[in-house]
Amino acid sequence: MLTQMIIRKLFNLRNANKRNNLKLSQRCFSSHLPELTKNRYSVKRGNYAVLTEDHKQFFIDLLGSTRVITNPDECLSYNVDWIKNVRGYSTCILKPKTTEEVSNILAFCNDNRIAVCPQGGNTGLVGGSVPVFDEVVLSTSLMNKIYSINDTSGVLVCQSGCILENIDNALEEHGLMAPLDLGAKGSCHIGGNVSTNAGGLRLLRYGNLHGSVLGLEVVKADGEVIDLLSTLKKDNTGFHLKHLFIGSEGTLGIVTKVALQCPPKPRAVNLAFLGLQSFEHILRTLKRAKQELAEILSSCEMIDASTLDVCTDNLKLKSPLSQYPFYMLIETHGSNNEHDQEKLNKFLEDAIAEEYILDGTTTNEINKMKHIWDLRERITEGYTKDGYVFKYDVSLPIEKFYSIVPAMREKLANEDTVRISGYGHLGDGNIHFQVSAREFSQQLLKKIEPYVYEYTSDLRGSISAEHGIGFRKPKYIHYSKSSGSIKIMKQLKTMFDPYGILNPYKVLP
């Protein structure tokens, strides 16, 4: 009975999230547009063909006129990323429905040297999913079929344009859930998730996509379809090629189908929101949470005071706690509520006794959980209201997790900024760090980059923990990857895509 209730509640929560995300995507294009990427970043256009009427006619013959968008107004939303950092000027958006269509498009583009920008839900944060110049956009939005869900093995097979939340809703009927969950779930496509190796809020518990993707179908630049669509948990036969397409951001091939290993949906979910005095206390709380909550710990996030302000001030959300320098969100997923609450309360009691935690609230009531999660999931949206946001996404050794924020505050003390703050996946050592200003400024950019990457590199961190390299970071990839490994990446790129038509200007320097 209780279980059913929780499942029902979770379902409602999900729908509520969906509404939020819809709102979010509608808001995207309401205010002013960013400068064209080619001008702001002075990039040189590659030696690709300029699209002719004949090219367009080929696409129309292939897909029909409704699935080839050339109207400039309609093209606009495919040309701008949702945090309005970058803008291209593609005049042709293609919407294939099948692998065969993708294959035909790519073969044609490869033969004619037409550059292609693959695009899923366009929720990327590093400019990877929008064209830099006039690349043809290949949108996966109509490739949204779910082929099968096996509730014994937990394997789902679907097309790459399925929206993550739709996958999750379909899985729910089988007592399963998607192995990843992120703020953009109402818009992002699973193909985009795979191509960027998206992490999200529960990576700590459910691992990353290199583990949960069992198989893929991909189309190479020349149109050849590669069948890697295994649904087996174990398959050590030859090179594990699928991994090359997980996180390579559409530069080696376009993902058309995905086989995902999905975990059972938890019957018990509990959430605690905590106020803390210092980062030191956060570390102690994290350690204790890992020890005491152990196998039921599903998420461990931190938010600093200045970041929470974007939710409370910019979005007018209400925090259930009074003000503290730091906040933590700790979630448990389990199968028995009594057991989980016992553990959670013991953990909280002890952490309060040790004074790691000064104030907090805990609940498994669905609306309150959603309310608390909003304070975390809507941060990116809240930030956009500050003006222009310089976003970074770095992994650092856990002890140094937050150190980048005070370091940056010192460095930018005399600059005109709105906010310098950090939040993120504490349990994964991945901090989202940002500087917001009323508007974009080269001067500020030069003060932040490459300093932020040098700082990260000196600590042996990663300059892009989960958002990828996209357009914004190729020239900094060397801060996290050796020259030997970059060389191999370039060789692979040449092998898979000799004319460089797939997502050019991205990932590799």
Binding site: Q341, K346, G360, T361, T362, T363, K368
Partner: protein
């Protein structure tokens, strides 16, 4: 860590709208937040007080009164040192529910837990439960009794201070060491305090 000697867990229960959250806010922050929404789940906070020259930390757990928000129940009773059961002196049904709350306390809390009955909202003109009725109920059930007003700050400080003093006395008698996070239930080692049915004032 601070050099406090004692740490006690105090849990507030009682019907929705009787003023549990307001009592806690008044005590911990000196505020009376008007238009307070219903508590959902459990809120917790710490307040350090001084008894004699000793620092005592109170860990206060403020629970939801409404049944549909009270999903987290049993486990927070278990390790409580004191339970504050609150009713609203201007609302008969909140008093009528006390036996139900006591049954829950009997079921889940330690038998040694310090129990305090609080009639809140004495600032209100429309009293429905005379003071002696509350007092008698408390005596019958071996509870301390106190009437308070979170709004006017009447007896709020006294309520928590008296609990701190009493728990400290108990702890001293049985020579309880500082809070030990490894022991599941501190109350089990305390002796039964026979002074349980006196009034606080």
């Amino acid at each position: 860590m601070d050099d406090y000697k004692f740490l006690f867990k105090v849990v507030l229960v009682g019907n929705a709208g009787v003023g549990k959250t307001c009592l806690v806010r008044r005590f911990t922050q000196g505020l009376f937040p008007p238009g307070q929404g219903a508590t959902i789940g459990v809120d917790f906070m710490i307040k350090t007080v001084e008894v004699g020259n000793e620092k005592v930390k109170l860990q206060i757990w403020d629970t939801a009164g409404q049944e549909r928000f009270r999903s987290i129940t049993q486990s927070y009773y278990r390790s409580a040192h004191a339970l504050i059961l609150v009713y609203d002196i201007s609302c008969q049904p909140t008093f009528d529910c006390l036996p139900d709350w006591l049954r829950e306390i009997e079921e889940y809390a330690s038998s040694k837990v310090l129990r305090v009955l609080v009639g809140n909202k004495i600032d209100r003109e429309d009293r429905e439960i005379p003071m002696h009725v509350g007092e008698e109920f408390a005596e019958r059930h071996n509870m301390y009794f106190l009437e308070t007003s979170a709004k006017e700050s009447d007896n709020v400080e006294r309520l928590f201070m008296q609990i701190a003093e009493d728990l400290m006395k108990q702890a001293r008698m049985t020579n309880i060491p500082r809070y030990d996070p490894n022991s599941q239930n501190i109350n089990d080692s305390t002796s039964n305090d026979s002074s349980c049915c006196s009034r606080l004032n």
